[in-house]
Symmetry: C2
């Protein structure tokens, strides 16, 4: 199974399928794409196409063996290999992410954090000074960098991560990062989410006036 | 200025503009949509249209007064009113979000958390038992609920929040939530982000073999 040509939107739906399948009782031996589509309110042609990227085990009229499909999704999503990552910016958000054990389930292993503020650096808590980033990422062959610095320093940190050999960046700073070809930036734009929430509220409250 | 008809993608770009404008030195009195577009690598027609939803103060050949535009963006995004919110699920992620002071900047004020586990409930830390959710949200007129429970309980929690009068839900559980009309769900799908990152890595590493 190749994952070279899979679309980003398919990739983003796969964890939804996986979570749904995991939530089913053990008595559900087989499941059809149609049943999954109905439950998740998605188009069933789309679900069928998505699952075809991941599995070849679906059978007409029977569907997929639930356990096999879970295993195939986990493998495809890389949740069974460990991706080591570092965080840059050990402020509140950075430390919250470091302390969050839930990422292990998704194969993300946050090893270390870096910060430029000497008051925050603490080797016992695995928070190192930023000047050691390049050497350590190179030596440990770190491929994922997580940016949780303020917006104003995010581009500088991004450049440093790229120089250090990182190939994928998970960006929590609300800025657009410029990267060379071959480097992926995945934005986790919480400020954008909050804008959508807040706008919805002002619309709803406007209506009820 | 009405925000009834603004598209979700425009809304999601507005915080980027705001952050960029805030990062400029005080000496930048005026700025054009073209300059913003170039800096953020966006289409300048799009930037012009986005800003026209927020501000009427742009002038031909001069552009926008930077300070005015910042003020207009802040007001439009609702960052200057306080939206009170509650969290359901006081696990690692829920507590991390509770402790993250950065949301205040975006007008989000997390007042309380709720959890069903009596061992986690702690009134001094503002973590209350779930059975008090409906009463408290009703009394305090809470309109935003943040879901940080495991995927399997997210729909149940969502229903409870809607019954309690919440109009907008910020969902960190990797599941599709069903809600009545008029209720907005904003998904923060970290599992999806991790799938995109991990797939990029396996592609890149595959190439270099």
């Amino acid at each position: 199974m190749s994952n070279q040509n899979i679309s980003k939107s398919t990739l983003q739906r796969l964890p939804l399928y996986l979570n749904y399948l995991k939530s089913l009782p053990d008595t559900v031996i087989n499941i059809s794409a149609t049943a999954i589509a109905e439950e998740l309110r998605l188009n069933d042609v789309q679900v069928r196409k998505d699952l075809a990227c991941v599995s070849t085990s679906g059978k007409p009229k029977i569907g997929y063996n639930t356990e096999d499909l879970i295993r195939e999704l986990v493998a495809f999503l890389g949740y069974d290999n460990n991706n080591n990552a570092v965080i840059v910016g050990a402020g509140k958000l950075g430390r919250a992410l470091m302390g969050y054990t839930g990422f292990k389930e998704y194969g993300l292993n946050i090893l270390l954090a870096f910060d430029q503020n000497p008051d925050v650096v603490n080797e016992q808590e695995l928070i190192l000074p930023i000047f050691r980033l390049k050497e350590i990422c190179g030596r440990m062959k770190i491929k994922i960098g997580i940016i949780t610095v303020p917006a104003a320093s995010a581009q500088e940190v991004c450049d440093l991560l790229v120089e250090s050999g990182v190939l994928a960046i998970w960006n929590f700073a609300p800025v657009h990062l410029k990267v060379p070809d071959g480097i992926l930036v995945q934005n986790e734009n919480m400020a954008a989410s909050l804008a959508v929430l807040s706008n919805h509220l002002s619309e709803q409250i406007g209506k009820n006036r």
